[in-house]
C-alpha cells in the first residue's frame, strides 16, 4: 500500500460499484503488492455476496464406469469425467448419469470434447449440444476461455441449446494473459447474461511448474474486479487444496467448487471432507452455505 492515492481512487470506484479500467487492472496485476488487490476484490465480493460462501459437493465419475458406484447420496452434482469416442457413447454416459442423479444436476465434457464429438459424428456442435441437453446434461463442465476462439459464438450456442448457468474456466493460460480473458467474458456477459460463474485458476496443473500462491490469489482477485457482472468467482477445492482455496476466499472468491461428496478423505489428507470445508470457510471469516449444481442454495 505504498501507492496510497491511486489505491484510494480505486477503492472509491469499487465501493461505488463502478468497474475498474483495463489499465487499472493490468497495473494491479503487475504489482507484487497483493494485499491492496485483495482488499479491493473483497469489497466487490461482499457487495455481491455479503459474508456468504457457497460450496458444491460433486461426485466425479468416469464416463465408462458405473455411476451407481461413484455417485454418493451427498453429492449435489454428478460430473462426468473423460471423453467418450463417439457422440452415442457420450449420450449413453449422460443418460446413465441422469438415471443415477435424479433431480441433481449432471455436468461433463469440455468445449473441445463437444467439437471433437461433432467432427467424429459429422454434425454440428449445435446438434451435439442439443442431443446432450436432451439426454439430461445440465452443463458443459469445462469451457476454457483460453482454448475457445470465439467465445461469443459458443455462448450463443449454449443459450440456444437451453444450457443455463454457464461456468467459464481457464485451461492453462499464463497469469499475464488471464486479465484480458476475464474482461472479454465480462463484456460478453452484458450481451448474454448466462454466465453464472468463472473459475479463473488453471484447470491444467503442471506438477513440475506449479502456479505460485501469489499467482493464484492475484488471478482470483483480478477476476473478481474485472468481472463484477459475473455472479460467482470459483475456486476448485480438489485441485487447489484447502489452504489455497481458503485464502482465495479472502481475495474475492465466493464459491468453492468440486468438494468431494465422500465422508472419508479418499484423495489424501489435504483434501478434506465436508466438515473441513465448512471449518475453512468459517475460519476465513465467512458463512458457509451449501448449493446445488444449478447454483440454488440448499435449505
Amino acid at each position: 500500500m505504498n501507492t496510497a492515492a491511486p489505491f484510494d481512487r480505486l477503492m472509491d470506484l469499487v465501493s461505488a460499484g463502478d468497474p475498474l479500467s483495463a489499465g487499472d487492472l493490468s497495473q494491479l496485476a503487475s504489482t507484487p503488492d497483493i494485499l491492496p488487490l485483495g482488499m479491493l476484490a473483497d469489497v466487490v465480493r461482499r457487495r455481491l455476496h455479503g459474508t456468504q460462501v457457497t460450496y458444491l459437493r460433486v461426485a466425479l465419475c468416469a464416463f465408462d464406469k458405473l455411476f451407481t458406484d461413484a455417485v454418493l447420496p451427498a453429492a449435489r452434482e454428478v460430473r462426468i469425467t473423460g471423453t467418450p469416442g463417439t457422440l452415442d457413447g457420450a449420450v449413453t454416459a449422460v443418460e446413465a448419469a441422469r438415471a443415477v442423479a435424479g433431480e441433481r444436476a449432471v455436468s461433463g465434457f469440455s468445449w473441445m470434447d463437444v467439437e471433437k464429438l461433432a467432427g467424429q459424428a459429422g454434425t454440428s456442435a449445435a446438434l451435439v449440444l442439443e442431443r446432450l441437453r436432451s439426454a439430461g446434461l445440465d452443463a458443459v463442465a469445462e469451457l476454457p476461455m483460453d482454448r475457445i476462439d470465439n467465445l461469443a459464438e459458443v455462448l450463443d450456442r449454449l443459450v440456444a441449446a437451453r444450457f443455463q448457468h454457464v461456468r467459464l474456466t481457464i485451461d492453462k493460460s499464463p497469469a499475464a494473459a488471464r486479465t484480458a480473458l476475464v474482461l472479454h467474458a465480462a463484456e460478453l456477459q452484458t450481451r448474454f447474461a448466462c454466465i453464472q460463474a468463472l473459475s479463473p485458476l488453471p484447470t491444467a496443473l503442471n506438477a513440475m511448474r506449479p502456479t505460485t500462491g501469489y499467482d493464484d490469489v492475484k488471478t482470483v482477485a483480478i477476476a473478481r474486479l474485472a468481472a463484477p457482472n459475473i455472479p460467482s468467482i470459483q475456486v476448485d477445492w480438489l485441485r487447489y487444496g484447502p489452504k489455497l482455496a481458503q485464502v482465495a476466499l479472502t481475495f474475492g472468491a465466493d464459491d468453492v467448487d468440486n468438494v468431494t461428496a465422500a465422508d472419508d478423505a479418499p484423495d489424501g489428507t489435504r483434501r478434506a471432507p465436508l466438515e473441513d470445508v465448512r471449518r475453512n470457510i468459517k475460519a476465513a471469516g465467512f458463512e458457509p452455505a451449501e448449493r446445488d449444481g444449478r447454483f440454488a442454495l440448499i435449505a
Binding site: M1, T31, P32, D33, I34, L35, G38, M39, D42, P210, T211, T212, G213, Y214, D215, D216, V217, G241, P242, K243, L244, Q246, V247, L249, T250, T269, R270, D276, R279, N280, A283, A284, G285
Partner: protein, 403 residues
C-alpha cells in the same frame, strides 16, 4: 481501543499490549493484519530482501522418553523402530549438504536415555574436526534439559561443554505454547516447563549463543495463551536480544496420539501477522512452508515473513505427522522472486552469504525429501558401544555390537 486506533499505533511504531493484541487477532480483517505486519517487515527489511538457508534437518535419534501427545515422530525406548544415527551416517549427510551448497545441520532428536553427554560432545568434536567451518545449529531447550537431567549437570555447564565441543547455536524447538496449562495437557510439561524453556534460552544467550524461537499452535490453547506465548518471548528478547528469528507453525495432527484437525491456512497467516506485530523486537520471521505448503508459504511474505527458512534436504518430524511438502533451492528462489522480493542465502545469524548457489554453480535438484534412515534399516552404529546405556534393550544391543 478500537481496531483503527490500534492499527494507527502499530503503523506509528508503537508496541501493542495484551489487550490490543487480542483485539487485533480476534477482530481485525485478515488484510489489515497483513498490511500492518507487512509495514513492519518493510521497515525492518527495507531492501526487499528475503533470505533462506541451505541446511539439513537431521534427527539423530527418534527414541524419546518424553512422549508428547502431539508428536508422531518418537518411538519409545525398546521399540524395534527406534534408531540412533551413527557418526558416519551423519558425515554422509553433511557431505550431501555441502554438495548442494549447505553450511549447517539443524540437529535435533528425541530424549534418548541411552545417549550420555559424551556422545554429543564426541559427535560435535568429530564433525568440527572433519568440517571446521560447518555449523551446528543443534539441540532445542528440552534436549539441553534432558542432557542436564540425565547427566546431573546444571544447564549452564551443559551449554558450556557443548559450545566447547562445537555447538554454534540453539534452535527454538520444543516451545509449543509457553503456558504451563497447555504444556500439561500436551504432556510436554515434564520435558520443559515454560520457565525452564525460557531459562535455557537465557543461559544460551548469556553464553553468547544466538537462538531462534518457535510456536506450535492449534492444539488446546486459547487465543489469549497464544498471545501470552508471544509476550513471554518478547520479554526475554528485551532482556537478552539473543533471538535471531521467530518461526510459527500449526500442529500437524496425523498419526499422533492427540489427533484432531489442523488449523487452516488463514489461521496461519493471521497468526504469523500477529507475531510480526507483537514481536517488535525480533528482526526475522520465517515462513513455515513445510507445514503450510509452497503457496501459503510464499503468501507468508505478504503477512510479515522475511525469510523462507530452510531449503529442506531432509525432514522427519512434521512428515511423520502428515506434512510432506518439498522445495529445493530453485523453487524457493522462484517463489521469492515471483513475490517481488530479492532472494539471498544466509547463515544462521541471518547474515547474507550471497546469491542463490545454483546460479553460481551446478547443483543437483532435489525433488523429494530425504529421510533420517532408509526404511527397514535397523543397524546399530558401532561407536555406541563406547557409551554406557541405561535401558535394558540398549545395554543388550551394545553388548552384541561386533559379535
Amino acid at each position: 481501543m478500537m481496531i483503527n486506533e490500534i492499527a494507527q499505533k502499530v503503523m506509528g511504531g508503537g508496541r501493542v499490549d495484551r489487550a490490543e493484541a487480542i483485539e487485533l487477532y480476534r477482530h481485525a480483517p485478515t488484510h489489515l493484519l497483513g498490511h500492518l505486519a507487512d509495514a513492519i517487515r518493510a521497515r525492518k527489511h527495507p531492501g526487499r530482501i528475503v533470505t533462506y538457508i541451505i541446511d539439513r534437518n537431521v534427527n539423530y535419534t527418534n527414541v524419546c522418553v518424553a512422549r508428547c501427545n502431539f508428536c508422531a515422530f518418537y518411538r519409545p525406548v525398546g521399540s524395534s523402530e527406534g534408531y540412533v544415527l551413527g557418526f558416519e551416517e551423519i558425515f554422509t549427510k553433511i557431505d550431501e549438504t555441502i554438495a548442494v551448497g549447505g553450511n549447517q545441520l539443524l540437529l535435533q532428536g528425541g530424549h534418548n536415555p541411552d545417549l550420555p553427554i559424551a556422545w554429543y560432545e564426541d559427535l560435535f568434536r568429530s564433525v568440527k574436526a572433519r568440517y571446521p567451518t560447518f555449523k551446528l545449529h543443534a539441540l532445542s531447550p528440552p534436549e539441553v534439559l534432558h542432557i542436564s537431567r540425565l547427566n546431573e549437570i546444571p544447564v549452564p555447564q551443559v551449554i558450556e561443554r557443548l559450545i566447547a565441543a562445537g555447538l554454534d547455536s540453539i534452535p527454538g524447538g520444543g516451545a509449543e505454547i509457553l503456558v504451563d496449562r497447555v504444556r500439561k495437557l500436551l504432556n510436554c510439561y515434564g520435558k520443559a516447563s515454560s520457565d525452564e524453556w525460557l531459562d535455557v534460552m537465557r543461559h544460551a544467550h548469556v553464553a553468547g549463543l544466538r537462538t531462534t524461537a518457535t510456536m506450535m499452535y492449534g492444539t488446546v490453547e486459547t487465543d489469549e495463551e497464544r498471545i501470552e506465548h508471544l509476550m513471554r518471548l518478547r520479554e526475554v528478547q528485551d532482556e537478552t536480544g539473543g533471538f535471531t528469528a521467530f518461526i510459527t507453525w500449526s500442529y500437524q495432527p496425523e498419526h499422533t496420539e492427540r489427533g484432531g484437525t489442523e488449523a487452516t491456512g488463514v489461521d496461519y497467516l493471521r497468526t504469523l501477522a500477529l507475531a510480526r506485530i507483537v514481536l517488535d523486537n525480533f528482526d526475522n520471521l520465517q515462513a513455515s512452508w513445510v507445514t503450510q505448503g509452497g503457496k501459503v508459504g510464499q503468501l507468508s511474505l505478504a503477512y510479515g515473513a522475511n525469510d523462507m527458512g530452510s531449503v529442506m534436504i531432509e525432514e522427519n518430524v512434521v512428515r511423520a505427522a502428515g506434512a510432506s511438502y518439498c522445495m529445493d533451492e530453485l523453487e524457493i528462489v522462484v517463489n521469492i522472486e515471483d513475490a517481488g522480493f530479492i532472494p539471498k542465502r544466509r547463515n544462521m545469524h541471518y547474515e547474507v552469504l550471497g546469491d542463490p548457489i545454483f546460479r553460481e554453480r551446478d547443483v543437483p535438484r532435489m525433488l523429494s525429501l530425504a529421510t533420517a534412515r532408509a526404511g527397514g534399516d535397523s543397524s546399530v552404529p558401532e561407536e555406541l558401544q563406547n557409551y554406557p546405556a541405561r535401558s535394558r534393550r540398549a545395554k543388550q544391543q551394545r553388548a552384541s555390537i561386533g559379535d
